[in-house]
Symmetry: C2
Subunit: 450 residues, 2 copies
């Protein structure tokens, strides 16, 4: 695999020189997954040429599937409706829907009209599954057989299935109503005596999921049981499709991104090369929410303006309380939300986690409080100042541990996404509470501090 930049340069030169046969050969050696970065550097005219060549190689469908979303509008533009419909026809249903949803409405309708009727109908049905559900990522291209079919005949079926055997790792055994009875790994099919019926060699009651299931739960199942594919059924166990492990990897990666983004108050669609204007638009709502939150802290400080007027040194240590409290809260929050995302805790064990983080917060508060208090005492020469800072730190970090763990557990109990919004709530509450304790204690001990 030559580095993309070299390939791009050579390709451009070949295209400019009209040496299409060599450009074609070069392209045929590039994996569809590597064409994305290559497309990013081409002009619209060059993209059209490349898509033409790929179309000739019957590789346009696979390429389109692998392209990053931001490149799609340009590529769509360079394809006629007929070509686009032809490409769509070669895609598996989940990929087709994903692409179709990125077309503008008029084009979407025009292209769909050009699809064969059964594909159009399948797409319409597929679009009915809610976003984020198993139904959305499953493929409907799988091989189902009767339990009486012999291993040999099943192998013949695989042969007859043709080129697109990507999803075929298992043969699914269904009854006359189409209900899932079991599955036979191809390995087993190969190793079995040719005349043995599939019903005898199948794995019974395989791990499966339903079309309504959340993609994240499906990913958990696949990861937990080390599956290569998981059958998807309706509530009556009728087999509807299959989710393969490559889609599961995508789901796992996406969910991890989402969780990290949620902690930082970011929107999923705000990626590194999203145009700056889009990023700003996506971040502004959170920004204003956060602005409201920090003004709560400002308001708390405002309550103690008289105290600060007398002991201005207290203001010097406000960033210490804020910085340590925020840090502690985010740590507890990260540990707990990550454990939740990995399915390591439920509500009851969640309470245990809250207890633990509370204890950790207390211990951390004691350590940090004694250290910070000592520094403050030595720096400002007033032991009472050190004592106030120490006490406020203990209370703040204990609160940080409690909130950091309790907020996601509560959000989850209320059936909200535990990662979304937790960060803002925890940091805001810890900040305001910490400043209140610190300045409040300062006010009580005003005489000693002056």
């Amino acid at each position: 695999m030559a580095p993309t930049e070299v390939t791009t340069r050579i390709l451009r030169r070949l295209l400019a020189g009209g040496v299409t046969s060599r450009a074609e050969r070069l392209l045929s050696r590039v994996h569809p997954a590597d064409l994305g970065p290559l497309f990013a550097d081409l002009s619209p005219q060059e993209i059209r040429q490349v898509v033409d060549l790929l179309f000739g190689q019957h590789r346009a469908a696979n390429t389109l599937r692998e392209l990053p979303p931001e490149l799609l509008p340009q590529v769509f533009e360079s394809l006629s409706d007929e070509r686009l419909a032809a490409v769509f026809g070669r895609l598996q249903i989940d990929d087709m829907l994903e692409l179709a949803e990125r077309l503008d409405e008029q084009r979407h309708d025009r292209v769909l009209t050009l699809l064969p009727a059964h594909k159009r109908e399948e797409l319409r049905k597929h679009a009915l599954y809610p976003e984020g559900s198993a139904g959305r990522v499953m493929t409907t291209s799988y091989l189902a057989v009767d339990e009486k079919m012999t291993a040999q005949d099943a192998i013949e079926q695989i042969r007859a299935f043709g080129e697109d055997t990507d999803a075929i790792l298992y043969v699914y055994v269904v009854d006359t109503d189409g209900c899932l009875e079991g599955l036979v790994p191809i390995r087993r099919l190969v190793a079995a005596r040719p005349d043995r019926p599939c019903g005898e060699i199948m794995i019974r009651e395989p791990v499966s999921t339903t079309v309504q299931a959340d993609q994240e739960e499906v990913a958990h199942l696949v990861a937990r049981y080390n599956l290569l594919a998981i059958p998807v059924t309706d509530d009556e166990r009728r087999l509807l499709g299959v989710i393969t492990v490559d889609d599961v990897i995508e789901v796992i990666t996406e969910e991890a991104t989402e969780d990290m983004y949620n902690l930082a108050g970011l929107n999923d669609a705000d990626r590194v090369f999203t145009p700056a204007s889009t990023s700003v638009r996506k971040r502004l709502p959170w920004q204003f929410l956060n602005l409201g939150a920090v003004f709560i802290s400002a308001w708390v400080v405002g309550l103690f303006e008289q105290t600060l007027d007398q002991i201005v040194t207290l203001a010097v240590f406000m960033p210490v309380i804020n910085g340590m409290g925020g840090n502690g809260g985010v740590q507890s929050l990260t540990v707990v939300t990550r454990a939740m995302a990995l399915g390591e805790i439920e509500f009851s064990s969640g309470l245990r986690a809250v207890g633990k983080e509370l204890m950790v917060g207390l211990a951390m508060g004691l350590c940090a409080g004694i250290a910070a208090g000592t520094i403050a005492w030595l720096w400002q020469g007033n032991p009472w100042l050190g004592a106030v800072l120490c006490a406020a730190m203990v209370v703040t970090l204990t609160m940080a541990g409690l909130l950091g763990a309790a907020v996601p557990v509560l959000l989850k109990a209320l059936r909200q996404d535990p990662a979304l919004g937790s960060g803002a709530i925890v940091v805001t509450a810890t900040d305001a509470f910490g400043l209140f304790c610190f300045l409040g204690l300062g006010t009580l001990l005003l005489d000693r501090l002056a």
Copy 2:
């Protein structure tokens, strides 16, 4: 699949009543991956009984592999050296090493002496691969054939390979030196004419990796090219092992945890149910680093004590600057480190990302600054205070965007883990810088603010 708690209760009752045959039948229906939560609730005595039963079913090895690490010491204790050696002998090499490393040294040596010589030697070799390398997660149980072998003979080989065909999704074609020439998916083997040689139907130059490669890079390859397994070779392309997609899913999940943890300044080993004392010990070093960092902000505020003494209202708005700056920095940092983890940016495009986040920071600063400035003006009745807050906010958020993006890009250019430490650096620098700007501007405009 009955919920674990019910299974546990029934199992305990059966064990207590000595009804081992029924306990055995119950256990045989539980998937190895589900035995972990079940073990967590059993007494040492009960664990011993269960392990005995699993051993009888030849399922002890698979169970051990799936158990969470914190349960292992107890299970190890309930097994004799001989049994443990027998279990180890049934494991694939990567799993064996992982478990062997968890035994205390004496026991480790005793158990290893009981292993067959070739297994012991293989284990010794495997332990030489550095942690986190492809060599550590690969399995050495794969099927390699000569290119002249026919499809039919290859299928016979698969049959002869026996029970443990988990890793067999492909047959690898090697030359006389053991160098990887290609691979044949089992699907293709099945579909091919029986007398065709593997060399003719193989996929040439398949995506592969070397033993020294980083696990994260291997995971990227598998995800990018939708592989089910990736062959691992030495520098001369000699085939040494195979990494399967289930191990890749584990790597992806672990790396995501690590990245989230790094952003929060947490150690990998600090999980939700790690004992509180361990968590405290793991968090303390970061805590003290962070304490040093927040005292930089305190020192900056200390520089302006005179200003604050005259205009105490400035102290009220310090949490606004800190809160907004920290939030902005963490957002840019999250977007950029996540893109790096997903392999979406390199150094050159990293600079583009820095430029973008700088612009976003500026725009966000303008929006937040105008809003915050207006609130401050209306609240305190002084337009100059609003202007100072607005200007400081613009500068702080621009800086936050710049630092949030530039720090990980620079760390990566210096070949450091971009996620580790970035959070602390960005938040500290943004805080100190923001306070300096705000209080500095306040000092310059002291007459207007008074």
